[in-house]
Amino acid sequence: MANKLSLITNGLLKENPTFVLVLGMCPTLATTTSAMNGMEMGLATLFVLVLSNIVVSLVAPIVPDKVHIPVYIVIIATFVTVLQLLMQAFVPDIYRTLGLFIPLIVVNCIILGRAEAFASKHNWLESALDGIGIGIGFTLSLTVIGIVREILGSGSVFGWKFIPGDGILAFVMAPGAFMVLGYLMVLFNKLAKKK
């Protein structure tokens, strides 16, 4: 049991996809303009990651080495497209904010990375837990970056405005994403090393 739990916490701390593995930077930088956007992107990735990890771990034994990447990509792309269609149909508002970045989950290196490095070598339950761990780690990281950018850039958190005025515009735009990510990465690694 402790072993299973460590699979989840692994994704939060030791192998945090954003601050330690530094994977999936494109959606990280682009969608964290607010806390809500970051969280939604994280949850969408979590969904795909868990499902693709499970399926990859199940099919891995019968997939020959030569074609494993194409097979995994097809599986991942299928889940992403399913997610995209479902979001478009049932939560069109979220789809509108994230629209462009949903298809990009296909090429998010976290997902193929976990399929290759973890799911293909473990059973489905461990792979699912790994997907949950890494997915939550990714979601929390994106939410934190989003919160910081939203406070500095718009003076609000999750759309709740508590600082009047315009905020520092640069933090809503691309340069702010790099700055916030950089400083949070330093902070995260400093705190993580202490332990």
Partner: protein, 190 residues
């Protein structure tokens, strides 16, 4: 090897086909609801809204909707797009038959967050369209017109005003003798 790849693709396309079939109708319904909501927002309440129609002025085709009430046309909702600062700025513009603007709504834009993107949130900028005079000059004050620009976003404001002007021009050619309009504007502030 080929067999595994073939099998994977086959299963995946079957899943996609099934999901597409399930979500096709809800997606169409959501898109239609969104379009209807945008039209209803820019027109006076209570009328009946027509199907999409198209008209052409200056070589550009526009999609518009007509609203009927009490046996006559009470307004038009025109889809109008111009080049903004960061890309296409697409608006739904509600125009009363005589050319008075009723309301406007941004359908899509790629303006700078915090600057031009305020065209969807700046109350002063958005509020000025309600009841905008049928003979008012639809260019920003900097260019000698009657439109209050968003601070530090003149290009976006110009594009917005131009989109509204296009819609008004279209309505004026559709219905050149109409007089209904200004009376529908109630309690306009300032």
């Amino acid at each position: 090897m080929t067999l595994v790849l073939f099998g994977t693709c086959l299963v995946c396309s079957a899943i996609l086909g099934a999901v597409y079939g399930i979500t096709k109708d809800p997606i169409a319904a959501a898109a239609a609801a969104e379009a209807r909501a945008a039209i209803a927002e820019v027109l006076p309440e209570g009328g009946e809204i027509s199907e999409a129609k198209t008209a052409e002025i200056d070589g550009v085709k526009y999609e518009y909707y007509e609203e009927y009430g009490g046996g006559q046309t009470v307004g038009y909702a025109v889809k109008s797009s111009t080049a903004g600062f960061g890309g296409t700025l697409s608006l739904m513009v509600g125009v009363l038959p005589d050319g008075t603007i009723f309301n406007t709504k941004v359908l899509s834009h790629s303006e700078t967050p915090g600057l031009g993107a305020k065209c969807t949130s700046d109350k002063k900028f958005m509020g000025q369209w309600y009841g905008f005079n049928k003979d008012g000059n639809l260019t920003v004050k900097k260019d000698g017109g009657d439109v209050d620009a968003i601070t530090a976003s003149t290009i976006t404001s110009r594009a917005y005003a131009l989109a509204v002007a296009q819609a008004r021009k279209l309505v004026k050619t559709l219905d050149p003798d109409a007089t209904t309009g200004a009376s529908l504007i109630k309690n306009k502030e300032n």
